[in-house]
Amino acid sequence: MAGKGKSRWADDEDDLAAEAQRKREKEEKKRLKAEKARKQEEENAAREAGPSSAPREGPARDDEYEDRPPAKRRRLSPERTAPEVSSNPNASSKLLRFEGGTFGRSRSVENYNKLNDIEEGAYGWVARAQDRDTGKIVALKRLKIDPKDRSGLPVTGLREIQILKDCDHKNVVKLREVVVGDDTTTIENIFLVLEFVEHDLKSILEDMPEPFLASEIKTLLLQLASGVAYLHDNWILHRDLKTSNLLLNNRGQLKIADFGMARYVGDPPPPKLTQLVVTLWYRAPELLLGATRYGRAIDMWSVGCIFGELLTREPLLQGKNEVDELTRIFELCGLPTDETWPSFRRLPNARALRLPPKQPGHVAGSSIRARFPLLTSAGVSLLNSLLALDPDRRPSAREMLEHEYFRQDPKPKQEAMFPTFPSKAGQERRRRKQTPLAPVRGQQAAELGSVDFSGLFSGREREERGGGFSLRMV
């Protein structure tokens, strides 16, 4: 280009010539584009006028159909050669074709070359591998099978496979196939072939020297909420949302992973769901209080915990056990009252709960505002609603997407503009995580027993008020 090397503000003939040249090129492009569009339109019209014109169907569906090859009837014997349907002049209406794919045996894991281990944790072994045919990089996750388990292949693993197979969303990790070990006389080695994603959010948070920018947090939360909204729209509860189960690729895309706890639910939710779900630090208060009838709100609580963790790079509520977790929740969100959570008294473990008597004059309310002094008030209102003690008051994932927080400045950062991080996926051994593990099926649900919460806020009266470094009671 002519202008190169000179000052950007220099205004000479070279610049003018270049400008004119650019303009010409632009116009030429425009013209070509218009012509292309016109041709396309003509073609479409010709096709429309052809044998198939369906007034019955809406324009939206028509458009969708134009892109695809004409639907052929399924042939039921491979011997016949000519598909006799195309010549049929009576086939005048367009019918929706339902494609459900086919079925057949699993392929062998030998179709993949193992590259390196990513992780070996309580929930199994994960490795990075390469497809021998296509060269694509994938993650292989081995299904953990307990040979002593007399109930056969683990139902959690089967549910995870089924749910992932049904899902297709950009914020949910993709299951490509399920492969088995080479010896198929007994099926013992089962591997999930998942799309490979470079990072998990947990280790990024642990390693980053500076927290995420507000704009980056908004992008991550939006993606998380849209993934969760997709799951909830499809009647799926994840039941183990936490930062180590959220993956992030180098293009700034967040993917929800690990569906070992997930299941389909109906509406109303089935009674007697297991309360042994969600890793302790992300577990909603109604689960801790022993609810067996719960719904999408438990995932939204976890989203709230993740929001807090993104802000501080530290898990928000690191309880040592169920009682301690509940204590921390009440410290952060305030004590449940008949106004803030009308139905909590009816939960199984709530009967044993002794709460400090109401003190006239001050309410032991939420201290979220005080804990995140730098968060905008829209951010606080979102976090407050996600961490509402009463599950009915938490927003749905769809409602969360509409929240004002995401419309305020700073605007969510574009995914592509996300900073990249050195990929650690297995190239070096990860630090052991200190997050407690997801609960194990069949475990005894923890009885809270008769816990005395009356001492929870008892120290507060003695706290210095004003000035100093005391807990603020907002």
Binding site: R56, P78, G101, S106, V155, Q162
Partner: protein, 313 residues
Amino acid sequence: MAHMTNPLATPEQLYQRRSYGSLPTELQDVILFATQCLTQAAGILLQLPQSTTAQANVILARYWLVEPFMSHEFSDVSAAAIYLIAKVGPSPRSPRDVSNVFAYLMSRSSSFFRSPSSPPPVNDPSSYYLSDAAYQAIHERVLATEARILYALSFNTHVSLPHPLAITYLQAMDFLGVRKETISRRVVEYLNTALLSPQMLYLTSQPNALAVAAIYNAAKDLGTKMPECEWWEVFDVDREELGFLVVGMRSVEGWVKKMREDVPRMKEGMITRNDIENELRRRGLSVWNGYGNAMMDMEAEVARRMDERVSEA
């Protein structure tokens, strides 16, 4: 959309099953029909919802398009299918319950697959009592078969049934002169009968087509007036597929009647692998062919025959 679609059999799979140098077609059909009936009977005794049992029927039919019939005992495949589907669904059943139910259905005390005219069998509890050892053996086989089914189907246990769609379609239509209960009952009967069809209708058509065909048949049976236009197109079914399914669904009853006459064995309890082997021997067909071309099975069969010869000598 996943809730409305099923994976379907490929033309190659259907063709291969018919032309496999293995079992004669009518024997395949009898095995499939008998095992589907057994699964339904077990579903009733296990007090499973029909939605679960019907899914097990579909999984079973899919499995036998991928794996040869003779590689496992038929009742084991049925038990494994029902155990697996119940396990991943909303109403799991314990392995002990499943084993007990199948032990009973396979015993001489059960009236399963007996001629309705003959007197009911004497109830002899010892004929279906499962000792610990016998239970362990059944359990072991069911788990191995369960894994085999999953492998054969690439771990895809998804089945969409046409029943809810049919009810929705019925609500969209207005059949004058017939009570809603009457016509919906008939529709569900057609859909459940189609599960047993040796034509494997659930593997060749999507749920919407099955639902429309069942409605068409039910309306015909009850003599109610259907819309004059090509109403099935509203539900995205073309005339040809509808015609095929209507005939397929209607033919099950006649086929079963004929089979009961042709194959007297169908009145003497559930058919086993042994029965099929005997029938093949009677026809002078080689038995091990039916195991498919897996080397392992052939070797096992040769070993078994040699054992037989040793014991004869």
